[in-house]
Symmetry: C2
Subunit: 144 residues, 2 copies
Amino acid sequence: MANDSLKLDNQICFPLYAATREMTKRYRPLLEELNVTYPQYLVLLVLWETDRISVKALDERLFLDSGTLTPMLKRMEERGLLKRTRSKQDERVVEVALTDKGKQAEAKAAQIPLKFLEQSQLSEEEFIQLKRILTKMLDQIEES
Amino acid sequence: MANDSLKLDNQICFPLYAATREMTKRYRPLLEELNVTYPQYLVLLVLWETDRISVKALDERLFLDSGTLTPMLKRMEERGLLKRTRSKQDERVVEVALTDKGKQAEAKAAQIPLKFLEQSQLSEEEFIQLKRILTKMLDQIEES
DNA sequence: GGCAATTAAATTGTGTAAAATTTAATTGTT
DNA sequence: AACAATTAAATTTTACACAATTTAATTGCC
């Protein structure tokens, strides 16, 4: 071991990577009723706010490109949560909109954020710090 | 929008999820010389510390199960970084050890952590807080 | 010693991720 | 109007993730 900076326990990004995977694992039982994955849940969060959005705009909101979104949105369409339609104004654009089932899922999801927070043992203060630091990381990246 | 707790901007886990993906994207050019992905780099970090380890122990260290590790370790073996061998004492166990090429990669990697930190604009203080909070999240999970 | 229970990897199936390329539609410029 | 450049999705390829199942080896218990 020539170099302490290469020790796993000294890495900052490893806990980031591991905590993210454990977080999505914790979400899984909460999302079971909706029958969606965590990334699909993020799409629903956006659609519950906007109701109708292009794939491009979803990409900008979630930082997920069409290579990820296209098959994911097709799966969600198959499950009846949303509808994909080509824009009339610009045929290149695919717009995504919730179905009634997708809209109704919001009520089922209402308790998810609280349930998740209850499970977690971080303090309010720690959540605020965590979010502030991660958002700062993301802001830098958006700039570049 | 019936429920503010379902707003994307109010989620704590979304910045966690997004920052992790952006982090691995930032690592990619740094790992190019080694010709490994970020998860493969984590395996190398462990092996540079221990030289020889079972798949099971790797799982415990990285929280990645055999479904992920087996194909990943096979790819790394194909690229000549490590060798997989069945244990003589217990034929169920597969042990992973670095090749000379894998060992030599450590020298090439020596500058990676510093280069990554230089790119980032978080303060020393923020790094310490971030790591502390994420490690706390992970500790809870290990307990359960 | 025999055999059920346990354990370690591997396999299977589904679902992300993201780089790179392709296809099709639109826009800007001459 | 013509056509090169740009743009939005889709596709292709490679590589994770992880739940669930299978296979093979080992251990525990009678």
